[in-house]
C-alpha cells in the first residue's frame, strides 16, 4: 500500500527547470533514497514533499490527506502534514535542552504533559540518548546531535520521515555506524522514510529502493543490488562507480551497444603475454586487497589483485564475460 504518491511534480527556479514531471509511489514501511549529483533536484523534491517549497505543477497525496494539488490550488502548509524531518545540519534549537527539542512536536500536537514526558523518554531511549536529556545541544557530539534530530522526528509518530543527507556532516566511521542504526531503527519501528543523498554508500546502507535522479527526472528506480548491478546507461554506471566503462571494441564482443561496463572483479590478472595486454600505472592496498590502476590501450581501468604489481609492469588481463554489461550511451 502506498503511503505517499507524487504525480507529475515540476518545479523551476527562474529559467532553470529543477524538477521535470516526477511521479513516484512510496510504499508503507519502505526506505527510499533519492540519489543523485548536486543540482539534480533531489533536495528540492524532498522540500516539496515537506511543504517547505511549492511545486509549479503536480499533485502529492498522502494516506489521509492531499498535500498539494496545484491544479486545484490546494497547498497544505508543512505544519499540517504531520511529518518528521531530519536535517543535514541537525536543525536543533540551541536554546532548548535535548528533551525540550524532542518534546516540541508533541507540544505542538497538544499532547498532555504526561504523554509528552512518556513519549520523550521512549524516543530518547530508542536513540540511546536518555542520559543526555537535560543537556543543551551544543554539549553533544555531531553523531549525538543527529540522534536527537532523529528522536525529534520520531516523537509525534509521523507516517513518514524525511531525511536530508543525515550523515553527510559526520566523519566516515560515525557515518557508517549511525547509518546502520537508522536502518535497524526504521525496520524495528516499521517506519516509512525518504532520504536524500549524493553518497552512494549512504544510499546502499539505508535503502530498500533507490531513485537515481539526474537533471530533474528519475533516471532509474530500483532495489540497491539491481541498480548497482544493472545501471541503465553510461551515465548511471559512471555516477554509481560500478566499474570500468570501455568502448565495446576493446573487449571484442558482439553487441549492438557502443560501451561495455566491466566490474573491477571481472578482470583477471594473467601472464603478460596472454589476454589483453596492459600496463600497470599505480597500485595501492585498500581494505583487504590491492587495487591496481592500469592503462588498457589508452583507457584507464581499475582491477583487484592479491599481489602487489610494480609500476610500469606489463600485465595481461582476462575478462569474465558473465559479469560484463553492455551499456547504451544514454544522454551522456
Amino acid at each position: 500500500m502506498s503511503i505517499l504518491s507524487l504525480h507529475n511534480i515540476s518545479k523551476s527556479f527562474g529559467d532553470e527547470v529543477v524538477l521535470n514531471n516526477i511521479s513516484l509511489d512510496v510504499a508503507a514501511g519502505s526506505f527510499i533514497t533519492l540519489l543523485g549529483p548536486s543540482g539534480c533536484g533531489k533536495t528540492t523534491l524532498l522540500r516539496i514533499i515537506a511543504g517547505l517549497e511549492r511545486p509549479d505543477l503536480g499533485e502529492i497525496h498522502a494516506k489521509k490527506m492531499t498535500f498539494v494539488n496545484v491544479a486545484r490550488n490546494v497547498f497544505l502548509p508543512p505544519q499540517k502534514r504531520k511529518l518528521g524531518f531530519v536535517f543535514q545540519d541537525y536543525g536543533l534549537w540551541p536554546h532548548m535542552t535535548v528533551a525540550e527539542n524532542v518534546a516540541f512536536p508533541l507540544k505542538m500536537a497538544k499532547a498532555s504533559p504526561q504523554d509528552v514526558k512518556k513519549r520523550v523518554g521512549e524516543v530518547l531511549d530508542a536513540v540511546r540518548l536518555a542520559q543526555h536529556a537535560d543537556k543543551l545541544p551544543e554539549k553533544l557530539s555531531g553523531g549525538q546531535k543527529q540522534r536527537v534530530s532523529i528522536a525529534r522526528a520520531l516523537a509525534a509518530k509521523p507516517d513518514l520521515i524525511l531525511f536530508d543527507e543525515p550523515l553527510s556532516n559526520l566523519d566516515a566511521n560515525l557515518r557508517e555506524d549511525l547509518g546502520r542504526d537508522i536502518q535497524v531503527l526504521s525496520k524495528q519501528l516499521g517506519l516509512t522514510c525518504i532520504n536524500v543523498t549524493h553518497d552512494r554508500r549512504e544510499a546502499q546502507i539505508l535503502s530498500d529502493q533507490i531513485a537515481l535522479m539526474k537533471d530533474g527526472v528519475i533516471h532509474q528506480l530500483g532495489q540497491p543490488h539491481d541498480l548497482f548491478r544493472n545501471p541503465r546507461d553510461v551515465w548511471a554506471a559512471r555516477f554509481l562507480d560500478v566499474g570500468n566503462i570501455l568502448p565495446v571494441g576493446i573487449i571484442q564482443i558482439d553487441v549492438p551497444e557502443h560501451f561495455v561496463m566491466v566490474p573491477r572483479k571481472a578482470f583477471r590478472l594473467v601472464e603478460a603475454d596472454q589476454g589483453l595486454s596492459a600496463t600497470a600505472t599505480n597500485c595501492m592496498f585498500i581494505e583487504d586487497r590491492f587495487e591496481v590502476t592500469a592503462d588498457l590501450q589508452g583507457h584507464e581501468v581499475k582491477l583487484f589483485s592479491n599481489q602487489p604489481i610494480g609500476q610500469e609492469q606489463s600485465i595481461g588481463l582476462k575478462v569474465d564475460l558473465a559479469d560484463i554489461l553492455p551499456l547504451s550511451h544514454g544522454a551522456c
Binding site: 515537506a50 511543504g51 517547505l52 502548509p77 508543512p78 505544519q79 499540517k80 502534514r81 504531520k82 511529518l83 518528521g84 524531518f85 536535517f87 543535514q88 545540519d89 541537525y90 536543525g91 536543533l92 534549537w93 540551541p94 536554546h95 516540541f104 512536536p105 505542538m108 500536537a109 534530530s149 525529534r152 509525534a156
Partner: protein, 549 residues
C-alpha cells in the same frame, strides 16, 4: 494570515519613516510647487540652483573636506594598524580599547573642546603662552580635528585585515621566501586595499554628513559646506525650501554613491579572503619596541582623546570661564546647575533620555519585524523592503531633517507631528533604524534556516516560530542594538537642531545654544554628562554584542 500582515506592517512603517522624507526631497527638488499639490514649473528650482555659485562652492568644499579628512585619517591609521597586527594579543586589545574612546566623544563636542584649548586665550595660551588660533580656524585645522576623530574607523578595519592576512597569507609568503618589505607590498597591501578603501569611504560619508564641526570651526573662517548651507537656508528669512531640497539631493547622491562603493568593496573583501584558520602567537615585543609603541600609540591617544576629554572635564569644573585656569576658580556650581529640576539643562536631559528610550524601543521593534519579513519570508517585494531598511545608511541626518520638514510642514495634513517632539522621534527612528536592522539581520542570517523549518514541520505556525524559536535566540542582540540606539540618540545634533519645536531642547541643542550665548563652561558640563551617559551605554551595548559571540 500573518505573513501578508507582517509584510504590510513593515512596508508601511518603512515607507512613512524612510520613504516619505526621501521622496519629499526628490519631489521638491523637481516640482517646487508640489506642496500646493501642483506639478507646475518643473525643474524651475533645480536648474538655477545648480548654477548657483554658492551651491557650487559648498559642494566643492564638502568634497575637498571629505577627501582630505579621509586621506589624513588613512595616513594616521594605516601604520598604526600595520603595527597593531604584530602585537601580542593583550597589548593589541588594550590599543583597540583606547581607540574606541574617540567614538564616545560626539564630534561637535570634540570641536568645542579643541576651540576651548587652542583658540585665543584658550587653555594652551593660559599655560604655555601661545595659541593656535590661526591653525584651528583654517582648512588644515578643521581637517586635523575631524581626522583625529574618525581615524579609528580605518584603524579597526585595516588592523583586523592585516592580522588575518599576516596570520595566513603572510606565513605562506614567508614559507615561499618573501622578504618583509616585499611581503608588505606584494601581499598585505593589495589584499588590505579593498578594506582600506571601504572604511575610507565610511570616513568620507561621515565627513560629508557632519554638521557640528563645519558649523563651529568652518563658519569662523568662511568655509561653507553643503550641510551648513542647508542649515542657513532654514535660518535666513525667507526660508528657501526648493533650494534646501536641491542641496539635500546633492548630499544624498554623494553619500549614496559612496555608500554603494563601500558595500561593493566590503563584499569583495569578504569573498576574496577565506576564513582565518590558525591563530599565530606573536612573541612579546622587545623593550625598545615597547617604548616605541607607548610613544606612538600613547602620544596619539593623548592628543586625539586625552586633550579634548581633559579640556571638557576642566571646563565643567570651572566657576566662571573668565576666571581662567586657577585653583580658586574650581567649583561644582556649573555641573550642579544642570540638575536643578526646573532648569533648562535638566529639561534637555529628560527630553533626550525620553526620546532616546522611545527611539530604542521602536527601532528594535520595527527592525525585528522588518528583518524577519526580509530574511525569512520569501515573498515578492521584500527586495524593496530590504532597500528601504538600509537606505538611511546613506542618508545624512541633515537630509532626513529637511525631508521631514518638507513632508510634515504642509497644510494638507490634518494632524502632523511637525512642531511637536514627535517629529524628533520620527527623525531618530529614521536615522537609527540601520543599527538594529544590521545587527539583528546579521544574527538572523547566522541562524540556519533549518531551525525554522524544523519548527514548521513539528507543527508550529509563523507566530510560534517567531515567539518560541527566533525571539529567544535573538533577544540579546536586540537588547544590545537597543542600547546602541539609545546611546547614539542621546547625542544626536543635526536633526535635533533643525526639528526641535520652540521651547524644546535636546542635550545637543542645549550644548550648542550655550556656546552661542557664551556660556562655554555650562555647555562643557552638559557635554561631560552626555559623554558619560552615551559613552557608558555604548560600551555596555558593545559588551553585550560581544558576549553574544
Amino acid at each position: 494570515m500573518l505573513r501578508p500582515a507582517l509584510f504590510l506592517l513593515s512596508s508601511s512603517t518603512l515607507i512613512v519613516i524612510v520613504g516619505f522624507p526621501v521622496l519629499a526631497i526628490l519631489l521638491f527638488a523637481i516640482f517646487p510647487h508640489i506642496n500646493e499639490l501642483s506639478l507646475a514649473a518643473p525643474l524651475s528650482a533645480l536648474l538655477p540652483n545648480l548654477a548657483n555659485e554658492k551651491l557650487i562652492e559648498a559642494t566643492f568644499n564638502s568634497l575637498r573636506l571629505a577627501l582630505s579628512v579621509t586621506l589624513v585619517a588613512a595616513i594616521i591609521a594605516v601604520p598604526l594598524a600595520y603595527m597593531r597586527a604584530r602585537f601580542p594579543d593583550r597589548l593589541g586589545k588594550i590599543c583597540d580599547a583606547m581607540f574606541l574612546i574617540p567614538f564616545l566623544i560626539p564630534p561637535y563636542i570634540g570641536s568645542l573642546a579643541w576651540m576651548q584649548l587652542l583658540q585665543r586665550n584658550g587653555f594652551v595660551e593660559q599655560i604655555l603662552g601661545f595659541n593656535l588660533n590661526t591653525f584651528l580656524y583654517s582648512f588644515s585645522g578643521m581637517v586635523t580635528v575631524m581626522a583625529l576623530h574618525l581615524f579609528p574607523l580605518i584603524y579597526f578595519t585595516t588592523a583586523s585585515v592585516f592580522s588575518v592576512i599576516g596570520r595566513k597569507y603572510g606565513d605562506v609568503a614567508k614559507v615561499f621566501g618573501g622578504h618583509t618589505i616585499t611581503v608588505f607590498w606584494q601581499i598585505n597591501f593589495p589584499m588590505a586595499l579593498p578594506a582600506l578603501l571601504s572604511s575610507g569611504l565610511i570616513v568620507f560619508i561621515l565627513t560629508i554628513e557632519e554638521f557640528g564641526t563645519p558649523e563651529i570651526l568652518g563658519a569662523r573662517f568662511g568655509f561653507p559646506v553643503i550641510v551648513t548651507s542647508i542649515h542657513e537656508k532654514f535660518s535666513d528669512w525667507p526660508i528657501d525650501l526648493p533650494g534646501a531640497s536641491v542641496l539635500s539631493l546633492i548630499l544624498i547622491i554623494i553619500a549614496f554613491v559612496a555608500y554603494q562603493g563601500h558595500q561593493r568593496l566590503s563584499k569583495r573583501f569578504q569573498t576574496t579572503i577565506d576564513n582565518q584558520s590558525v591563530e599565530a602567537k606573536h612573541p612579546p615585543l622587545s623593550p625598545w619596541a615597547m617604548v616605541g609603541v607607548v610613544v606612538v600609540f600613547g602620544g596619539l591617544f593623548g592628543i586625539a582623546v586625552g586633550l579634548p576629554l581633559l579640556t571638557i572635564a576642566i571646563s565643567s569644573f570651572m566657576d566662571t570661564l573668565s576666571g581662567g585656569l586657577a585653583w580658586d576658580n574650581l567649583s561644582l556650581r556649573t555641573l550642579r546647575e544642570l540638575f536643578i529640576l526646573d532648569g533648562d539643562g535638566w529639561a534637555a536631559i529628560m527630553t533626550s533620555l525620553t526620546l532616546a528610550a522611545f527611539a530604542a524601543i521602536f527601532t528594535v521593534m520595527i527592525a525585528t519585524v522588518v528583518v524577519f519579513t526580509v530574511v525569512r519570508l520569501r515573498i515578492k517585494g521584500t527586495g524593496f523592503l530590504d532597500f528601504l531598511s538600509i537606505l538611511p545608511n546613506s542618508i545624512p541626518g541633515m537630509a532626513v531633517a529637511v525631508g521631514l520638514i518638507l513632508t510634515w510642514n504642509q497644510s494638507f495634513w490634518v494632524v502632523t507631528p511637525y512642531n511637536t517632539p514627535f517629529i524628533l522621534l520620527l527623525a531618530y527612528l529614521c536615522l537609527m533604524l540601520p543599527y538594529p536592522i544590521r545587527m539583528i539581520s546579521t544574527a538572523l542570517k547566522q541562524l540556519p534556516q533549518s531551525l525554522d523549518d524544523a519548527a514548521y514541520i513539528s507543527g508550529a505556525n509563523d507566530l510560534t516560530v517567531i515567539l518560541k524559536i527566533l525571539v529567544p535566540l535573538l533577544w540579546p542582540i536586540s537588547l544590545a542594538s537597543g542600547f546602541i540606539v539609545f546611546a547614539i540618540s542621546t547625542r544626536e545634533l543635526v536633526s535635533s537642531i533643525m526639528l526641535a519645536p520652540p521651547g524644546v531642547e535636546t542635550v545637543a541643542v542645549y550644548v550648542f545654544h550655550q556656546f552661542d550665548q557664551g556660556s562655554v563652561n555650562s555647555g562643557m558640563a552638559m557635554s561631560l554628562v552626555t559623554i558619560i551617559i552615551s559613552g557608558g551605554l555604548l560600551a555596555l551595548g558593545q559588551r553585550l554584542k560581544g558576549a553574544m559571540k
